[in-house]
Subunit: 281 residues, 2 copies
């Protein structure tokens, strides 16, 4: 469970009229806290800024968000541990009905919870995935963003219940693999790295951006374009990434098995060197 705070202190509830509750009219970021500091903060801020623009919310001042994270960590007593802060920004209260004016003062909440990371063997041996029956609709008006409208992920992720499988991969209607329910996907084919375009649906994860950027600094290019299921199954190695666990090799999706390959290991080393300590397995 999480402890929740706003700028003033602990909160247990939100107004029932909050548009976040009524319509999912808002955004969130799930920020890894390591050594008391938010990781990839600038990337989280960039995505929040983009989301606020698209939803016509004034982006809360970065200093206020940062102070809110620090205060929530201190109050929760989690500040010295590896943990997670979920930053939620909503359109707040307002009249009934879908339409609204741009919001000058969005509501902001900070939820702190313990990190829930898989066992060490996951980085060594890779994790198992399944292909979700739930498809992502496209083109989504909120493609790339992390909004409070997450029913597709709820339905897709619920398909994993009782299986022990770590992650579900989701496709769009055309059979293109888009992302995991809580992660982004990369495939390696003939030594080349590819990750799905998220222009039509899916969430542009901060760790995905960090992988692409860190590799680019090493002169390694990531090709961003559509990946069909056949493309994925024909690939030599695949891995997933997210803000919490960094990256993890995928050793299985349905009947297809992959080795934890050389390129995946090299990229894990690059990520570890860039400060994503989980990848130093």
């Amino acid at each position: 469970m999480s402890d929740w705070f706003d700028a003033d202190g602990p909160v247990e509830s939100v107004n029932i009229g909050d548009r976040g509750f009524q319509y999912g009219d808002g955004l969130f970021e799930t920020i890894a806290i390591r050594d008391g500091q938010p990781r990839l903060w600038n990337y989280h801020m960039d995505r929040m800024t983009l989301g606020c623009e698209r939803l016509a919310l004034a982006r809360p001042a970065e200093a206020d968000l940062r102070a809110g994270v620090t205060s929530a960590l201190q109050r929760s007593g989690f500040c010295k541990d590896a943990c997670v802060v979920k930053l939620v920004v909503t359109a707040g209260g307002g009249a009934r009905g879908y339409g609204r004016a741009p919001v000058d003062e969005p509501s902001v909440y900070f939820g702190v919870s313990a990190a829930t990371l898989p066992g060490k063997e996951s980085w060594r041996d890779g994790i198992e995935t399944l292909l979700c029956a739930t498809r992502l609709a496209a083109p989504s008006a909120t493609a790339g963003l992390k909004t409070l409208n997450r029913l597709e992920q709820v339905l897709a992720r619920s398909e994993l219940a009782g299986t022990g499988i770590f992650e579900g991969l989701t496709m769009d209607a055309e059979g293109e693999v888009i992302c995991g329910t809580m992660s982004n996907l990369f495939v390696v084919h003939d030594g080349k790295l590819r990750t799905p375009s998220l222009a039509r649906c899916g969430v542009e994860g901060v760790m995905r951006r960090h992988v692409i950027t860190s590799l680019a600094e090493q002169g390694i290019r990531t090709d961003i374009r559509s990946i069909t299921l056949a493309d994925m199954n024909n690939s030599d190695e695949i891995f997933i990434c997210n803000s919490q666990f960094g990256m993890l090799p995928v050793r299985r999706c349905m009947d297809r098995l992959w080795p934890v390959g050389r390129v995946t290991r090299e990229i894990m080393a690059v990520l570890a060197d860039s400060g994503i300590a989980e990848c130093r397995w």
Copy 2:
């Protein structure tokens, strides 16, 4: 603004961990109250039942929902007026993360607010619409349902701000007209009635079902299939419907003007006879 209640009495807030707030993991119905009674109650229950099945929520007992509506109306003091009850059913609290087990006891809330109906001239002269730039993504895992994930409607409806235009019509990516932001659409062409299929996206409104059913009882068939923008613009008459206003002729969408035609008038008379008093203009 709305007054909110649960089964026990007034509520002002919901737990911040409620999955309705965190993920939009829930459903709602917007029920017209006329002469103190919910209108088209059975159709609202049918859609709620279908939605609960699709989201793996136990459907709250119908008697409890009906009692909750009655209680909310009495407590709010709205019971003798035309008003609206928004019935919200969510997956309630739960652990962090998208996935969840089926929910045996969803949270249920009842919001009561005054009816907000357009002026009488709207039924006589028709209303204006615009074509929203916001498109509906498809195929949606929640097509037809009225879930708490409503950002597409928020974005589409916000396009109307300041225009004085009554409704926005939304298309999918292929240019098929699906529905209004808060209504369903019918077109009349060569005397034949059509309404868009909602198999891929859009909300199956209770008044849409009531129109189709009431006309079928009169021997009038509604063709349910895709309607392109060209189809709509080539049609002779168009109208929209929803649970609150019944049906309204559309006299304009962008540059296209329509008369309030004979078929539309006849259907309004059928609806009025079926108990949708607003249609007796």
